[in-house]
């Protein structure tokens, strides 16, 4: 759970940072897309890196999900009879919503791939024309809403997940809760910058 989560987290951070190239204009983000595909072309072939990353991510997602399902199953088996009355004591919202949050993120990734990678659900949907695809997307409030929900879910998922992962790997970090919260907020805000600047017309 912790190791695959760390792989996914690294991807999310790089992706969020890469998205900020959107603010550099069409040449910047579209050029970045080409750069990612040309990277190490002599060794991997054109688009090779992208495929390597895809395989690693798919593997990580599958293992992450499998571990989550196993934990959920064990939890159900460990408490076959529930309590008649059960308020929340500690009640960390993020901790309680890890499983459903994960499901939301998985569904989002499917939609997101069909939208901005395959282009089939994108209003513009032209391969390689990343800037225009993104701008076309976020003209619509419902697309912005879908992305916002997913990114906020990601923020909650990271807030508990990061902290929990460190402990699962045997580490105790000073102020770990706060560090996890800050990282989660940075990722959330970083991702949301793009859809909101388009929606409110700062970038067109």
């Amino acid at each position: 759970m912790a190791v695959t989560g760390a792989v996914l987290f690294s991807y999310v951070v790089v992706h969020m940072a890469g998205n900020l190239k959107f603010f550099g204009g069409p040449d910047s983000i579209n050029g970045y897309g080409v750069f990612l595909r040309e990277f190490l072309t002599p060794v991997l072939g054109y688009g090779g890196l992208v495929w390597v990353v895809r395989v690693v991510l798919l593997l990580a997602v599958v293992l992450h999900g499998t571990a989550a399902v196993q934990l959920a199953r064990r939890a159900r088996k460990a408490r076959p009879v529930g309590y008649a009355k059960r308020p929340r004591v500690q009640g960390g919202y993020a901790a309680r919503t890890m499983r459903w949050g994960g499901v939301i993120l998985a569904l989002f990734v499917v939609y997101h791939l069909l939208d901005l990678t395959a282009g089939v659900l994108n209003p513009h949907g032209v391969d390689g024309d990343i800037h225009a695809n993104v701008v076309a997307d976020f003209q619509h409030w419902y697309v912005v809403l879908a992305y916002t929900l997913a990114v906020v879910a990601l923020g909650f998922h990271l807030r508990h997940g990061l902290w929990s992962a460190v402990r699962s790997l045997g580490g105790t970090v000073r102020n770990a809760q706060t560090v996890a919260l800050v990282l989660a907020v940075v990722v959330t805000v970083g991702f949301l910058a793009v859809p909101f600047s388009v929606f409110f017309g700062f970038v067109r």
Binding site: A78, R79, A84, V89
Partner: protein
């Protein structure tokens, strides 16, 4: 004061149970929760009914025998307090109090509020010991213990094995209990020889017994009558991982 209770009644491990409503009168604010149950039981006995079975021993918060789910919170609403040390002044007489046994597959209900917690003994047997030379008592200070290690060990050794962590955990995990034992023994010099095998063996034992897996929700520490910190779990994971790394 007069209280309304809804208490789990179950005649035996294999028969179904249910919540039964009782009212108890003449309860003083200074009575403990168990003394309130004593008052109820005296009345039930006089009426020729079976008293409510519950576990207790020391009644001073050190043995770990007592422990019930009170309104869905292990050991009730007060922090760092066992059920026997919980006073009735913390309860509003206008609200019914729901009393249930610990719920976990490895803790089968014996009767009413009594569950069999010997699964925790199995976890201890799997690694909760140190190897010493039996015989004459060792010299005092023969093995120096650094002060920070002594403090950490003492904090973890406060665990009374009541099982509240399991009862509160949404995953039904005994991780905090096991982590307390592994910390208590593993930070002391005397506990070093078996440090890694102990952690691994105890985690395996709890998994085999049917306890759930830890996802660090923190519900356990929140209800722990001894306030065992969640950091003990990170230490346990550290020892388990280094045991796995060495054996492979």
């Amino acid at each position: 004061m007069k209280y309304t209770l809804r208490v789990w009644r179950q005649d035996g491990p294999t028969v179904p149970g249910r919540l039964v409503e009782y009212t108890v009168d003449d309860i003083s604010a200074d009575m403990s929760f168990l003394e309130m149950l004593d008052v109820l039981n005296e009345r039930l006995l006089l009426q020729g009914e079976d008293p409510v079975a519950f576990d207790h021993d020391c009644r001073e918060g050190i043995c770990g025998a007592c422990g019930v789910m009170i309104d869905g919170v292990a050991h009730g609403p007060e922090k760092a307090t066992t059920t026997c040390q919980l006073h009735m002044r913390h309860f509003d007489p206008r609200k019914p109090i729901v009393v249930e046994p610990w719920r976990a597959a490895p803790f089968p209900v014996v009767r009413d509020l009594v569950v069999d917690r010997s699964a925790l003994d199995r976890v201890i047997e799997s690694g909760g010991y140190i190897s010493v030379q039996a015989g004459a008592a060792p010299d005092a200070h023969a093995v120096p213990v650094p002060k920070p290690a002594a403090d950490t060990a003492f904090e973890a050794a406060a665990c009374i094995g009541c099982g509240a962590c399991v009862a509160a955990c949404p995953n039904g995990s005994s991780m905090l209990f096991t982590a307390a034992k592994v910390t208590h023994l593993g930070v002391l010099p005397q506990g070093q020889p078996e440090r890694r095998s102990r952690a691994l063996d105890m985690v395996r034992a709890q998994d085999d017994l049917g306890f759930g897996g830890c996802t660090q929700t923190g519900e356990c520490t929140a209800v722990c009558p001894k306030g065992i910190p969640l950091d003990t779990i990170a230490r346990l994971n550290h020892d388990v991982l280094s045991a796995v790394a060495r054996s492979s």
